[in-house]
């Protein structure tokens, strides 16, 4: 008897625009002391099926159409809200994708941690705190005493996810549901958290249901893999079977999308398009504390026609460096030279002249597009602003751009929210290309995207770079991604440039410990 047995679960959403089947006849199971991974891209119904079991899908609009979910012999779907509530947090616990938003920012860590204990076990505060501290220690929080009285914002993302894990495990549940627990984390942190989950699972003998879009991530830890697409299970089995012999085309696609391989080294003549000398960008927080040295004395050259990969963890200053080059943030010192022109001293009109030669692609395609502008308007704006096309030719120019970034022309009058993340990123790329720039800063352009989409966008970028003869600064925390697209790699750590070299050099003979730890953290190394 499996720990959790889901049979023919169907969930739909009833909205103004009709009924949308989110989960369609899905069956899977989690054995005791095993990890089952559900893989699928966003919208495939993988999260909804788990939330539905626990009564966490808001109704309306959600509606469970049928199926059973037997947990320790009881059908969760047949339980009342009160009975379910007694199971939630005691027998079945959850951790979520974004540790930044899943902890209550207004409550102390300790109070949030002991809540399940006092609630389900009726423990007094004192003993509950003892237990919580022990657990914090176990998940690798260094100073549990201090952590108990700290607020979530005082922790980094990785630490918060550890807290979330501790909170989930505090009642010693039988089943842990982990919904994309590492997706929002940097690569190195991701590796640590994965390791932690695997360790705890063996140590505590719990079943884990691991939800992810990334096959590579689960490849190391899953005992069983379920692949979902568009609300249906398309394939399931042992990881080895899946990796070695994927049956369904979608699984094959997923596998193919794992970033691997290395860009064929182009011969780039060292003709510096951009020179950065001793660049410093410091932020002075209000209140007059010491400045944050986001970029501290960085010197770098970017050659014409090359893709320079800039690697670092969040907070390393890599995004600030990109924005500094584009003059989107005020720089504190140093020089930026673009084709012999000193950029840092330009203002107003002369700066605007340069703007269209350098563009940026942002990380979050949800935030970087004006939600109240159609694709047409978004693309037309730079074209008209810089007088690149005549009014009469505008439609034609936009059509070409849409074609180039692989968007159906029919979408031209839609709003950003009507698109998926990948499509949005295509719009953003289109906007960046519209001014026919020579240089593009791509700031984590794929890290918010599902793996399969990520691969498509990377391909697109690679193609466009060639076609337009672009020079690109490609910023990412993910070395696997960088390896695929970059000619050279620069590594940033705490605002400083620590290593720089050709992609092959960096991967094969990393000079710094830090670079080596980054390389070791690449997930799915054994599967690739």
């Amino acid at each position: 008897m499996a720990l959790l047995n889901v049979d023919n679960l169907s969930v739909s959403f009833v909205t103004r625009n009709g009924t949308n089947k989110a989960v369609d006849n899905v069956s899977f199971s989690v054995e005791e002391r095993q990890i089952t991974a559900i893989i699928g891209e966003s919208g495939s119904g993988k999260s909804v099926s788990c939330y539905a079991m626990l009564g966490l899908v808001p109704s309306p609009p959600g509606r469970i159409d049928g199926g059973t979910a037997h947990f320790q012999g009881r059908d969760l779907l047949a339980l009342s809200e009160d009975e379910l509530r007694a199971i939630r947090g005691r027998d079945i616990a959850m951790i979520f994708q974004d540790p930044m938003t899943c902890l209550n920012p207004f409550m102390k860590i300790g109070d949030q941690l002991i809540e399940p204990l006092t609630l389900h076990k009726g423990l007094a505060k004192g003993p509950a705190r003892e237990q919580a501290m022990a657990l914090l220690d176990e998940v690798g929080i260094r100073d549990p005493q201090a952590a108990m009285s700290a607020f979530p914002h005082e922790f980094s993302g990785g630490m918060r996810q550890r807290v979330m894990i501790a909170m989930a495990l505090i009642n010693e549940p039988k089943l842990l549901i982990a919904d994309e627990p590492t997706t929002a984390l940097d690569v190195t942190i991701q590796a640590q958290i994965l390791k932690l989950i695997a360790e705890l699972q063996t140590k505590r003998n719990i079943g884990v249901l691991f939800i992810s879009h990334d096959l590579a991530v689960v490849s190391d830890i899953a005992d069983q893999i379920v692949v979902m697409e568009k609300g249906k299970v398309v394939e399931s089995g042992q990881p080895k079977a899946i990796f070695d012999n994927p049956q369904h085309p979608y699984t094959q696609k997923l596998l193919a999308a794992i970033p691997s391989g290395q860009k064929a080294a182009d011969t780039v003549t060292p003709d510096p398009l951009i020179r950065i000398d001793n660049l410093r960008t410091w932020f002075t927080p209000t209140g007059g504390a010491d400045p944050v040295k986001a970029v501290d004395d960085v010197s770098l050259e970017i050659h014409r026609g090359e893709v320079l990969g800039l690697v670092g963890e969040s907070g390393s200053g890599k995004s600030t460096l990109g924005r500094s080059i584009l003059r989107l943030v005020p720089i504190t010192g140093g020089q930026i030279t673009f084709e012999g022109t000193e950029l840092s001293s330009l203002e107003g009109r002369s700066l605007k002249q340069f703007r269209h030669r350098m563009q940026m692609i942002f990380q979050d395609p949800y935030a970087s597009l004006n939600p109240r502008m159609t694709v047409y308007d978004t693309l037309a704006e730079p074209l008209l602003l810089h007088g690149l096309v005549r009014k009469a030719d505008l439609d034609q120019a936009i059509r070409e751009l849409m074609d180039n970034v692989g968007l159906a022309r029919a979408f031209v009058r839609k709003y950003p929210h009507e698109f998926s993340g990948g499509q949005r990123q295509r719009i953003a790329i289109g906007r960046a290309l519209a001014t026919r720039p020579e240089f593009i800063v791509a700031d984590e352009p794929v890290s918010a995207l599902d793996v399969t989409i990520q691969a498509q966008i990377l391909d697109l970028l690679a193609d466009l770079t060639k076609e337009y003869g672009l020079t690109m600064l490609f910023i990412s925390h993910d070395l696997a991604v960088i390896r695929q697209i970059a000619d050279r790699i620069a590594v940033m750590y705490h605002g400083k440039l620590v290593e720089e070299g050709s992609t092959a050099q960096v991967f094969e003979t990393p000079q710094q410990d830090y670079t080596r730890s980054l390389l070791a953290a690449i997930p799915g190394a054994n599967a690739a």
């Binding site: 509530r85 959850m94 902890l103 609630l119 909170m167 504390a289």
Partner: protein, 312 residues
Amino acid sequence: MLRFMFIRILQALPVIFVVITATFFLVRSAPGGPFDQEKIVIPEVKKALEAQYRLDLPLHEQYFAYLGDLAQGDLGPSFKYPGRSVNEILFSGLPVTAELGLYALIIALCIGVTAGVFASLRPNTAQDYVPMSLAMIGICMPSFLLGPLLVLVFGIWLDWLPITGWGDIPGDKILPAVTLGSAYAAYIARLSRAGMLEILSQDYIRTARAKGLPEWRVVTQHALRGGLIPVIAFLGPAFAGLLAGSFVVETIFQIPGLGRFYVQAAFNRDYTMILGTTVFLSSLIVFFNLVSDIIAAWLNPRLRHQFQGGSS
């Protein structure tokens, strides 16, 4: 924290100074003087009066003399009430108005938060529409209408509550506080509904539910705190507004508060009184904005951290 307060107060000082200066010259350029009466005042008498109140000096001398007095905390004598200083009148009315404002605010908070939270739990249902519609009417219902209406219903027809006075008869503070608080209750209801809706869609509410917390605990322990931050931020300006806007309620209910003096001073051209109340109220506005910012920040641990000034 102290540094933050210091900066805020420092920023407020020029504002108050400009307000004083502008008010000083504005009131003196308004037509009609403090001693104009329906029956004409003999010119010699008027001159004597003006001399007694320094109004015979050149304007700039009056101004600097006033600033000098102000620096010593002296708001000058009232023109309308000979024998009373503006300080005395302000401090006689302040406790009453402050008490009235406090009760009004408490009532506004109780009604407003309850209604707002209630509405936010089932958005776009009758449970949402009914309290929010009432809130809308509450916002627009002027107190010159609501006050007499409440008196008529509860004071005269039902004969449940006293209709005037302040602390003379038990229960006489209820109607004025309700009248004054209702508009604010309505605003608070809207604010808390919006705040709660925002918070209830946050991920950490899902976390709380996943822990198996009952819904009421999710709302009270996890959602309320964040959801009410906009309300807290509103309280400071609201309280200052209550103090300044209590005139109508004070008149209807015969309450010896500050609001009546504030408004009548303008009608009476009681220069020192206008200035005094303006200085006083603008300082209060600054003060209460500061307090509510501090409270809001205190409720938000992230900001609290900033205030503590640790460079961690």
